[in-house]
């Protein structure tokens, strides 16, 4: 045969095969599209859809990076029993049942597991619902899911083994009650509160589109394996709060409320130069008699401030030059009639002629009211008086980033002329006939401490995206000069002397110099003329010579005593002393040589690296940061102090022996463990051996 002809015949034979194959394909396409068309079109789109899946919510940190609120992931395991093929299922079911029984020692036995899974599968094959989403376990940690994933059948994955993993996040506050009202809460149904609410869009992040499929009896599950770890994440919020200070403020406030069985109380600690809020605590008595953070009184509750606001009238008097520190005033023994109403000092004292300064220091209502009335209670001067309050910033909101702050109520002689009486200015001068929140009062004190520069209080310093700075909130000046520096110096002097020899004597401390003013505010006097209900408060700042922090403590309706100097003052003092002790550079009295000179040698102490760094450098013990580890272990070898890294692994129970309680609780609860505590001091022993598997179990710490 001709070569060319042979080649062509064979080629056309191949072509023929291809034509036939193409016809077969064409037949299939037409078959799917036309003959079976209706069936497939019906199937389309009904059982699959794109759904919004929330990104992992961002964390809230304090200023040193301590976790204040975080979302911990938990997993739920279900099984689509109709997915595994017959051979896979039959081959693996025995060993899977044994594995499951071993994994959940308190749960079902291997035989129970087997019969449950086999029966459910049979049900499903006979058309009964429920077997495509069969519950296996919930509240599992990531490591546990990884273990389950290796079991027979499960290891075939979702598409061949029917292994379904679902993730849910739970919001946790590692420091529990600390500032919990300000940090707020996150709840999809009830709505958010606090910072969780104000920074919701930031924390929430972008939600993700995920393809979900519907399986009987109506669950939506992801079509593809969910990415359990690298989900989209919301941004983190870094607050200005400092957990150490928060701890102090919370504890002292709680102690005071319990001591005086008060109805509620709040305290705010603010950094003078920036307006950053370092601690904010709100506690109120529950029916059970315990105290809890229920409502953000510090920011959202207005009341009559009382004597603490004498600072404003005093400053107005000095600014207007109607009075000086030495201007004489008649106290009339502590009782005087203004027009038709009697005004009383907090108790009768019999004093007559004193200076303006002494009237302030003794917190005489009569004295301050007399001077203020003399200067401003005239038709053409009223407006000036209120204008001073405006200039001091007392008529504005602080605009803190928490919802619910009310506007201060300060009367205006023109706008409120139907409500304006001849007695209004005398009573305003000592903090009545007006409403302010604790934070609004503190902002004013902070401005005085800051030499007249008024700062906007703020709670959030940074937004972090993927761990690095994304947005920074800088301190904001809202009033360059609320008053002349001469007047500021004079009121400062009065605040200092209030503590050294006035109503604030109990606040006077040998450890830190405090300036401040007491407030003893009568409440519900409208209902009951002889009401003995008071709010006791103390507002001020420290150290007086170079103010670093301003602080206000308000105790609502204390029992037994009600004087600001007696109830709120001591709490103020203790907080100030403890905060000052933490802050090395404002500690004025500690004798460094006394400690270092005696050759102090720590033995087997474990804790937070930064704390040690600060302590050791303060004590001149030559601590050099030789490690980047967050947690360190310190021991003495001969004459040297040795620092070793303390490694903490997520999967293992860490060794917290040698740590202080706060560090230990922080470490353990961040790893998802439940902590129980016995005793006081340093952790001496722990109920679970270090190095064992961390399953989020309960652990008991023994301190001494």
């Amino acid at each position: 045969m001709d070569r060319k002809k042979e080649l062509l015949i064979r080629a056309y034979f191949v072509l023929l095969c291809f034509v036939l194959y193409a016809l077969l394909i064409a037949f299939r396409v037409v078959n799917i599209s036309v003959v079976e068309g209706e069936k497939w079109r019906k199937k389309g789109g009904h059982n699959v859809k794109w759904m919004q899946v929330e990104a992992e919510r961002g964390n809230i940190y304090d200023k040193n990076g301590n976790l204040m609120a975080t979302s911990l992931p938990f997993f739920e395991i279900r099984m689509d029993l109709l997915v595994p093929r017959k051979d896979v299922f039959n081959k693996g079911i025995d060993s899977l049942s044994i594995c499951l029984a071993n994994f959940f020692p308190k749960g079902k036995s291997a035989a129970e597991w087997k019969s449950e899974l086999v029966n459910k599968r049979k049900d499903g094959q006979n058309g009964k619902p429920g077997s495509r989403y069969h519950f296996i376990a919930k509240n599992l940690g990531y490591d546990q899911v990884q273990t389950l994933r290796k079991y027979p059948i499960f290891r075939e994955g979702r598409s061949s083994g029917g292994f379904i993993v679902e993730k849910e996040s739970r919001r946790q506050k590692p420091f529990k009650a600390l500032a919990s009202r300000t940090i707020g809460s996150h709840d999809e149904k009830k709505g958010n509160r606090g910072l969780e609410k104000n920074f919701d869009t930031v924390l929430r992040g972008k939600s993700e589109q995920k393809l979900m499929k519907k399986i009987p009896p109506g669950f939506w599950v992801p079509v593809y394996e969910p990415s359990e770890i690298d989900n989209a994440k919301g941004d983190d919020v870094v607050t200005t709060l400092d957990v150490h200070f928060q701890d102090i403020v919370h504890e002292e406030l709680l102690g005071t409320l319990e001591q005086f069985s008060a109805e509620k109380g709040c305290a705010i600690l603010m950094e003078v130069s920036t307006g950053a809020i370092r601690a904010i605590s709100n506690l109120e008595r529950l029916k059970s008699g315990k105290y809890a953070e229920r409502w953000n009184h510090a920011i959202a509750t207005s009341s009559e401030p009382g004597s603490t606001l004498k600072l404003a009238s005093a400053l107005a008097l000095l600014e207007s030059n109607y009075a000086d520190m030495h201007t004489k005033v008649d106290l009339q023994g502590g009782r005087k009639k203004f027009f038709d109403i009697w005004m009383h000092d907090s108790e009768p004292h019999g004093k007559r002629e004193v200076t303006f300064k002494d009237a302030f220091i003794l917190s005489s209502n009569v004295g301050i009211a007399t001077l203020t009335a003399r200067a401003f209670n005239k038709k053409d001067r009223r407006e000036d008086f209120v204008n001073y309050y405006r200039k001091f910033g007392l008529t504005n909101k602080t605009d803190i980033s928490i919802v619910g702050e009310p506007l201060p109520l300060i009367k205006d002689p023109i706008k409120d002329k139907h409500n304006w009486y001849a007695t209004t200015i005398p009573w305003m001068s000592h903090g009545y006939e007006m409403m302010m929140t604790p934070l609004q009062i503190l902002s004013f004190y902070n401005a005085v401490a800051n030499k007249g520069k008024r700062m906007k209080p703020y709670l959030v310093s940074d937004i972090l995206r993927d761990g690095s700075e994304y947005k920074t909130y800088k301190p904001t000046v809202v009033g360059e000069n609320i008053a002349s520096s001469a007047s500021i110096d004079k009121v400062h002097q009065m605040l200092v002397e209030t503590v050294t020899r006035g109503t604030g004597k109990r606040v006077s401390s040998t450890k830190v110099e405090i300036a401040g003013k007491t407030g003893t505010t009568k409440v519900e006097y409208g209902k009951d003329k002889d009401s003995k209900k008071y709010n006791a408060s103390f507002a001020g700042y420290f150290p007086a010579s170079a103010p670093k922090y301003s602080l206000i403590v308000i105790v609502y309706k204390p029992k037994e005593s009600y004087y600001g100097g007696v109830v709120a003052g001591p709490a103020f003092k203790r907080i100030a002393e403890r905060v000052a002790a933490k802050e090395v550079d404002i500690q004025e009295f500690a004798d460094i040589d006394h400690i270092a000179g005696h050759g102090y040698q720590p033995t087997n102490v474990v804790g937070y690296s930064k704390d040690f760094q600060q302590l050791m450098s303060y004590l001149n013990l030559g601590f050099k940061k030789r490690t980047k580890s967050k947690w360190v272990h310190i021991d003495s070898e001969q004459d040297d102090i040795v620092i070793k890294n303390e490694k903490i692994k997520r999967s293992e129970v860490p060794d917290v022996r040698g740590m202080g309680l706060r560090d230990a609780v922080y470490v353990l609860e961040n790893l998802g463990m439940q902590v129980q505590v016995k005793g006081y001091g340093i952790v001496h022993n722990q109920s679970i051996k270090p190095g064992l598997k961390n399953k989020g179990q309960e652990i008991e710490l023994f301190l001494h």
Partner: protein
């Protein structure tokens, strides 16, 4: 338009094949654009242009390659063939050892300085086809012989297919079939062709044994899964069902360009299942046209070999053409549930960098052959005319 037409007129070679290349190129841009819409939205912050521009660049680069290969006299490829094989085989060995894993198959190597992955087997396939065509052509005198023709031709085929198979079993299989068909057309004795079919079956058996022994190197479990799904699930697995929904919802004229719904539900709508998306958006008409276009390519290649005076050109053109069309039919067959899921692309149309480029090179070589055939035909007509004139003169 005028310039386009002028260029088209200027181009030599089979006009129909030029048209097919142009058609597939444009279609690929359209199809990739709509199929990747949702992917671009998810992965690139809604920047749908990203994949479109990438595909356009590939198609333009491909057009350049078509033109270059078309300009080159196809006889040069015969001379290049041994060198290409010499490069391809060590590269394949290297890839098995050190390749980059994509979709848990180690078929790729990353080109260091441009950081693009490059599928070595695409290059090796081309090299092998050219080499086989050359061998068949040079051995035409004694082609029915076993020792001097069959054995030297089959050894490189088995070698290359064997090296590709562990990572890309279906690709290796199709290449083997292509080579067997080339040998069949190239007049190898029929009994040896049957022997080859038996060998192919034997090779499959060997691989299954290897797969059970070295599960890390041979993707046996994947094949078994796919086979099982195909055999025991008449409606097909999830992917196949979604593919069928796509085909059915296109009905006759389709839902229109870019309006696919099923692209969101198919795992790789831009590659393995692009045919389903084409059917959904352009309907049965579009789907059957694509099928027709590839078949038309077969017919045009047949006409090349009918006209081609030289065996090398004929076998080369038909081999390259078969490679393209077999791939296309295999890809389409997956979408319509004729064969198990294989992970093959639709030549030119699917998004996929280097495979598009190598297919373009194949088209360029086919066109180069067809240009030669056209020239030869013109010369022959000229010759015949002259003979006629001479005859008249006589």
């Amino acid at each position: 338009m005028a310039t386009l037409e002028a260029t088209y007129q200027h181009l030599k070679g089979d006009k129909a094949i030029w048209f097919i290349v142009l058609f597939l190129g444009i279609f690929s841009i359209l199809a990739v654009y709509s199929a990747t819409g949702s992917m671009a939205y998810k992965m690139r912050d809604g920047n749908t242009e990203y994949y479109l521009i990438q595909q356009i660049l590939f198609i333009l680069l491909g057009a350049g390659l078509v033109y270059t290969c078309y300009r080159l006299d196809y006889m040069h490829y015969s001379k290049l063939a041994p060198l290409l094989m010499f490069i391809a085989v060590p590269l394949l060995v290297f890839t098995i050892g050190f390749g980059t894993e994509v979709n848990d198959a180690r078929r790729w190597i990353t080109i260091p300085w441009i950081d693009k992955t490059f599928q070595v087997s695409d290059f090796a396939k081309l090299a092998l086809i050219i080499y086989v065509a050359r061998s068949i052509a040079t051995k035409q005198e004694f082609i029915k012989d076993f020792n001097s023709a069959f054995v030297p031709i089959i050894i490189p085929v088995v070698l290359v297919c064997g090296l590709i198979a562990p990572a890309d079993f279906s690709g290796a299989g199709l290449l083997f079939v292509t080579c067997v068909l080339m040998m069949f057309i190239g007049r190898i004795s029929l009994k040896y062709v049957f022997l080859l079919v038996l060998m192919g079956i034997g090779l499959l058996g060997l691989l299954i044994v290897l797969g059970t022994l070295f599960p890390d190197y041979v993707r046996l479990d994947t094949w078994v899964n796919r086979y099982n799904e195909f055999m025991y699930n008449t409606d097909g697995g999830y992917q196949i069902q979604q593919s069928k929904i796509a085909i059915a919802s296109g009905e006759w004229i389709g839902s229109g360009p870019g309006s696919s719904v099923q692209r969101n539900y198919l795992p790789s709508p831009y590659a393995d299942f692009i045919y389903a998306i084409i059917c959904e958006e352009y309907g049965l008409l579009g789907g059957l046209s694509i099928l027709g276009i590839y078949l038309w390519l077969m017919f045009r290649c047949m006409s090349i070999i009918t006209e081609c005076p030289k065996t090398f050109g004929a076998i080369l053109a038909v081999g390259l053409c078969l490679n393209i069309v077999i791939h296309a039919f295999a890809n389409i067959a997956v979408s319509v549930h004729l064969v198990p899921v294989t992970g093959l692309t639709l030549p030119v149309v699917s998004m996929g960098g280097t495979s598009v480029l190598f297919t373009c090179i194949s088209f360029g070589i086919i066109l180069s052959v067809s240009r030669y055939v056209e020239n030869a035909k013109a010369q022959r007509i000229e010759l015949e005319k002259m003979e006629l004139m001479n005859a008249d003169n006589n």
